[in-house]
Symmetry: C2
Amino acid sequence: MAKLTSRKEDYSKWYNELVIQTGMAENSKVRGCMVIKPYGYAIWEKMQAELDRMFKETGHQNAYFPLFVPKSLFEAEEKNAEGFAKECAVVTHYRLKNDENNPGKLIVDPNAKLEEELIVRPTSEAIIWSTYKGWIQSYRDLPILINQWANVVRWEMRTRLFLRTAEFLWQEGHTAHATKEEAIVETKQMLDVYADFVEGFMGIPVVKGVKSANERFAGAEDTYCIEALMQDGKALQAGTSHFLGQNFAKAFDVKFATKEGTLDYVWATSWGVSTRLIGALIMTHSDDNGLVLPPKLAPIQVVIVPIYRDDEQKNKISEVADKLVKELKSKGISVKFDDDDTVKPGWKFNEYELKGVPLRIAIGPRDLENGQVEMARRDTLEKSFEKLDGLADTIELKLEEIQTSIFDRAHKFREENITEVTSYEEFKEVLENKGGFISAYWDGTPETEEKIKNETKATIRCIPLENIEGTETGTDFYSEKPAKFKVLYAKAY
Amino acid sequence: MAKLTSRKEDYSKWYNELVIQTGMAENSKVRGCMVIKPYGYAIWEKMQAELDRMFKETGHQNAYFPLFVPKSLFEAEEKNAEGFAKECAVVTHYRLKNDENNPGKLIVDPNAKLEEELIVRPTSEAIIWSTYKGWIQSYRDLPILINQWANVVRWEMRTRLFLRTAEFLWQEGHTAHATKEEAIVETKQMLDVYADFVEGFMGIPVVKGVKSANERFAGAEDTYCIEALMQDGKALQAGTSHFLGQNFAKAFDVKFATKEGTLDYVWATSWGVSTRLIGALIMTHSDDNGLVLPPKLAPIQVVIVPIYRDDEQKNKISEVADKLVKELKSKGISVKFDDDDTVKPGWKFNEYELKGVPLRIAIGPRDLENGQVEMARRDTLEKSFEKLDGLADTIELKLEEIQTSIFDRAHKFREENITEVTSYEEFKEVLENKGGFISAYWDGTPETEEKIKNETKATIRCIPLENIEGTETGTDFYSEKPAKFKVLYAKAY
Ligand SMILES: [Zn+2]
Ligand SMILES: [Zn+2]
């Protein structure tokens, strides 16, 4: 394998090379769509398993709704439709036929035109709320707490592996409630679930906040989000949870009989995270040698590499390694003993470093004599000698330490890259030279936000929840109008 | 809830009512597509988890390939393309725009026509083999053992919930091998995995066999299958494993350098099972009272219903039930204590019977005095009194017994419904009056098979593997030509 371009040299090239060389994903023959390769998919599976557990723990069930949305349903919630209309894949025909002028080739059969076009779901509010209409008559039918694991399609013009692809995998929660309050509680609860998952499991620190009206999900009353900071100083939206008010209930006429016997529209939320998170994972932790994975997400947590000259040495090492493998597995730690003869240990070291395996154990004949092994941490690249005695316990502790330490490092970086500014001069300077989040007072108007966006490409990533709750007020650095709270600006993925 | 139509009265109506009333699935607003509701999806999740485990145990990894197949790739393997061309959803445009004549409505933007149409995958051989081309240079890159969990679309004209829907969920394995022998071993191995899963986990007896050329997967050299028999005497193909030869390697020019230094085309297999299996599950085990689920597949394995007149009784029962719940959970048994006050025990009994919960435990004050509970088996509807003492162990054993007993019953039914015939007269009579599998000698020609199909609607479901291996020969009952082996005919879903 070729050495990666360094992050300093070209961050975006580094990112692409890393994704390709680790075997996580690649571009496909279909414009803008990626192939998620086994190593990338194994990480996604770990994310899915943990999220699914968290969703079920909070009372949600999975279900599955159609891939296609008939155009008349798609357009029912006007803002939502407007928001996605420009990036929709549209199915217009249901049959191919032989091309008479080109033997062996097929053409779309003009006689198989659909009466109504089908939109490949960019998100499922429309199809789900048209279904919920049949499920909800009374308050007794509420709440409905459903999640769906699915693929969605948004016809993006500029795509990047994991970060922005025409098709991506995600989960989308869609809940229905009898009261506004309950729907808001649900919206916030799922934001907390996302924050806990992204911080605790993926080791990525996030800011919880609310989007400005400009950046809101199309059709939402409020979009809550978690925002993360990448190593190159750009922000990445890591998850969103929307309070949809009664917008979809009104669009699809979903009313329920209240306890009091009146009729009311149902309150809604939706929330989602996607394979995009894998891009965030890479850009938060990895380095010029390759991927760095938090142990909780690593498909292989520990790799054992034997170093030997002859079969006798190999056999002795294998005996020790096999025992260690067994002990680690019984602790639920995933481990690989790589005794492949066809490549050198040095090659293996590079390979597992590239792939982000959190701990590497090397065992040579000298180590055995000394009752020890060499342990290398992927995150810090530190090496140490560890006693064979109690090694499984040492490894277990070390993995926990790495999980924490990876988060702490990212958290420190994030904290160092939130800069307070009070003037537009300062704002532009920080944006250009330092990057990161810029914390500044905002007058609350879309006009100010848009002007700044047009002039600098920075957007309001969120109004941090803690700032909304605060009482401090100030002056907008751009408009010089009074401002109720500080927001976070940044350039973003 | 309404009483189900009986199976005798109208089997297909019974089936539909059962799917709807149990809350497993319903038709959606999209022609031919279903909504898989939480109860149905929970069963699918259990199937997925077990299959996924079995695939990984046999060395496979998951990955994800694009939903769309560009037309030029789709048509590359001609037989495959021909087989699916007539039922393809085709994406032709990537944008909608406002309808100027109809405010608030959208139309397809004629300026956003794709240069090349995209087919929504009906199966993924084409997109996957065009990808494998980039992954395979040498024998060292082989085998590739990949599975994908995905949705696929086949534009069926007559659809039925689970059994035949325009969109369905499935898994599709796609493997690449250096030799023909290895590919055939893989094809057969996966057939065995499917048979073990369907029999051992779903309790559905199957016949392992090979398809006749007429019924082969489009693009395969051989299609292995497992065939099951439904209660109404019709067969259902429960899973297929295809030996694809070098057809896709040739279509996509996928060659590899052999150990000997020559270049050869890669050998392929593919194999899949789908949400259709849920239809087979229903039609194998269920009865006029509703669903019957094998314990291994039941989202709720045990339900506990308290029967009480006052709070004092309720509290006493709850104490015992809570302890039982804890014990069952520690054994990995999923249990629900339904102490809902708003409905009567009788209503609950019906509900859980309808939903196929394998064991129902009823506890009343008199039972407590006698140190016992009432246990009802869903499969046999038998009731018994069981001692409270050691009840969790009793339940565990009973669940195992039910799992076996459900399979045995279905197996007995299947055996009773394989009829040997030697004349066409007999064939037609059995087909009309008894149904089931008809075992008869076949001359091996597509002509005979087609004539019989046209005249009776019965098709060759498979050539049982054991018949192929045998040496017995005979005479075709229809053509009176010599025949090498007996095949199974049936009308099929
Ligand atoms: Zn923090
Ligand atoms: Zn059998």
